[in-house]
Amino acid sequence: MSLAKRIIPCLDVRDGRVVKGVQFVDIRDAGDPVEVARRYDAEGADEITFLDITASSDDRDTIVHVVEHVADEVFIPLTVGGGIRKVEDVRRMLNAGADKVGINTAAVFNPEFVKEATDRVGSQCIVVAIDAKKVSGEGENNRWEIFTHGGRKPTGLDAVEWALKMADYGAGEILLTSMDKDGTKSGFDLELTRTISDAVSIPVIASGGVGNLQHLADGVSKGGADAVLAASIFHFAEYSVQQAKQYMAGQGIEVRL
């Protein structure tokens, strides 16, 4: 027995409220991040990730308060991402009680920011989020590129090289999202996950495309991911985190039950 593979529910938060319609029949206020986080903790979630999708950067304070409230009551690791651009943003989130901070677009436009952040707060606090899309054609060797703006803008950066660079710059972990799969419910891009996971020496969280429990298990057993992240399958109470863990354990995957 050894280190467990992690299951991480992800919550989108806008203006301090959970969006994407979290649906739990027995929850009082499904928009309250504290209640939802408490629920996931009770179900056995290994970590919780908050993605701040607040449109205006003027409203950043709201997510800080959300993190404070959740961290005061939920005692598992919390990651916060969305709109993190400066070391000051990272510090604020950590001081509010976040354990890790996700950096996405800002890393693409200013890779040195990742170096600066990991140097100041330590690698273990920095998750670099990578949004990748397959750009190779039929019959060609697989190639994925980094995209920004929700998968609309190509950057010309090769996903494998980028992941290696981010690890070299001190990232403690990579949150890898397939923009081809995100929202499709057809499973992770397992080739992408396997390729990145084999390339880097830091943990990789697979994300994008989960529609059922087999997809989660495949992310680990076929994709080689250290952790799997999903949103909608947990929010709509299709499956509980506990069910997901039981399912994965049934396939011989080590999980925290």
């Binding site: 027995m1 050894s2 598992i76 009680g97 690698s123 830091i202 250290d226």
Partner: protein, 214 residues
């Protein structure tokens, strides 16, 4: 009111540690402080920490906290967490070598790149996530099942010279020491403040611990 002091030396998640303690205390007061006198006057001391060994030792020295921390470790129930456990040993390999507090003989070592498990799977560094803790009987483990999982995040591990201070071990490619202690001192590599129910139980045990090994 009896007091638990969380030592603040600018390294890490003090809010999480103090909130988790507040969650489990009944009558005690939890304070976060860098004041040597408050540390001296507290009934119990929690010594957390994350980040690099070099920075931790530098911050402790600059804030005049080396003596107060060692003094607390000499006389009252004392809980080290993560980096706060590692720096109790004499030396760390991190940052090209750093001399630590030296409360116990021993080295803090790097897990090493290219490490593989029995199935040949690459072991990622940092060791991040929930791993099992196999403990030796001690009041701090009360109410916690043998081999329970706690949340870890670290790239270096403790290798104390004296096996007698080993309070728990964990497996990650090889067995490593995940808790140490002697007398009134107990120190863990994992983060009890982030380890859900079992972590809170360990913190609760600390709030009730009289500083004796049995």
């Amino acid at each position: 009111m009896s007091q638990i002091a969380v030592v603040d030396y600018g390294m890490g998640n003090l809010r999480s540690v103090s909130k988790a303690l507040e969650h489990v205390v009944t009558t005690q007061d939890v304070i976060v402080t860098s004041d040597p006198e408050k540390i001296h006057n507290a009934d119990k001391v929690v010594f957390p920490g994350q980040g690099a060994a070099r920075d931790c030792m530098k911050e402790l020295a600059e804030r005049g906290l080396v003596e107060p921390v060692l003094q607390a470790a000499a006389e009252k129930p004392f809980l080290g967490i993560c980096m706060g456990a590692q720096v109790l040993l004499s030396h760390s390999e991190e940052n090209q070598g750093v001399d630590c507090l030296g409360l116990y003989d021993g080295e803090v070592r790097f897990f090493g790149e290219g490490h593989r498990d029995a199935q040949g799977q690459l072991l990622k560094i940092p060791h991040m996530g929930w791993n099992q803790v196999h403990y030796k009987t001690h009041p701090m483990w009360q109410g916690i099942e043998q081999d329970s999982r706690f949340y870890f995040v670290h790239s270096y591990y403790m290798a104390p010279a004296d096996d007698a201070i080993v309070m728990a071990t964990t497996d990650y490619g090889h067995e490593f020491v995940s808790a140490i202690g002697r007398g009134n001192v107990f120190a863990v590599q994992f983060h009890p403040e982030k380890s859900a129910r079992d972590g809170l139980q360990l913190l609760k045990n600390f709030t009730q611990w009289d500083g004796k090994e049995d």
